[in-house]
Symmetry: none
DNA sequence: CGGTTTCCCATGCTATCCCATGATTTCCCG
DNA sequence: CGGGAAATCATGGGATAGCATGGGAAACCG
């Protein structure tokens, strides 16, 4: 299983460590990813996490542009690769969540992991609750509007 | 991990030395590169850094052209190889950043390293901030136009 | 011989490794 | 089917190693 499924909430300890849920860790390993890539979510107080597969897809987008002679390369690559951070696991499957990501997501002592198939999100559970409800509302509305089926 | 991911800011000391961020050093080593190659960025007040992999790719581009009888050889090779500098690490993972590169990037006392997968950039942090913001703006639009979205 | 550069050591901070614990689940065998 | 053993997992804390940084002494070069 290379995808991220389910929702889990783990503790952030005094050293800024958090256990990546075992299923997600398994998915990352299945992708051939050492550790995990994290990036602040645009326009959301959340952190997005992903592995080798999404990384490789992004690399394909950037690849046609020459790193030295095409400004588009830097533009496309900077948005993903320089904003991302590569975190590695300790022997117990934890990562040290960098302070800037903790701050961006407004995380205090607990981290909520939400699997979204190809990537996952990390939230402060309190911040996430209303967001999750709103997303479900939207999905429901779309379902009703399209004659009881989601596209 | 042979790629450059993340953003790091280190100090340039009085002797013109700067620590290459440990993850980048690891990537260079994984590429089999002794030290690091640096070249002033075209049209940007920045320095681009890279290792063996990008070096080899560039060599492949130049290869079809004969060194003596094809003018393109000199043009391509000059643009990359003659402009580049090979810097080696001291025992603590630092390099002496040559004065012309420091001047080109307008670096004062701090160096910001931005990973772009196959290469990385070195900036004066103050110069980089607005550039980074502009790139994020443009990239957001570009990724949306391509149907792919940022994570 | 001045100005570099290169090597080496010292330091404080942080991340990493390692071990221990308890709770839960899975597994195996009677 | 049941019950105990073993494995998995999240969590905590102490010890160790790595990293960025500063500075001094030896080697190098014009």
């Amino acid at each position: 299983m290379q995808s991220f499924v389910g929702t889990f909430t783990n503790k952030l300890d005094a050293k800024g460590r958090v256990s990546i849920p075992a299923p997600f860790r398994g998915a990352l390993q299945a992708q051939g990813t050492e550790g995990v890539f994290c990036i602040p979510a645009l326009g959301l107080h959340a952190v997005k996490g992903f592995g080798q597969i999404f990384y490789a897809e992004t690399r394909e987008i950037v690849k046609p542009h020459h790193p030295l002679y095409d400004q588009k390369h830097a533009m496309l690559a900077a948005a993903v690769f320089s904003q991302s951070q590569h975190l590695s696991f300790d022997d117990d499957g934890r990562v040290r969540l960098p302070d800037d990501l903790i701050a961006h997501a407004g995380i205090k002592d607990r981290v909520c992991f939400a699997g979204l198939d190809s990537i996952f999100e990390m939230w402060n559970p309190e911040t996430y609750a209303p967001v999750r409800d709103a997303r479900m509302q939207q999905a429901l509305a779309a379902y009703e509007a399209s004659g009881k089926s989601l596209p």
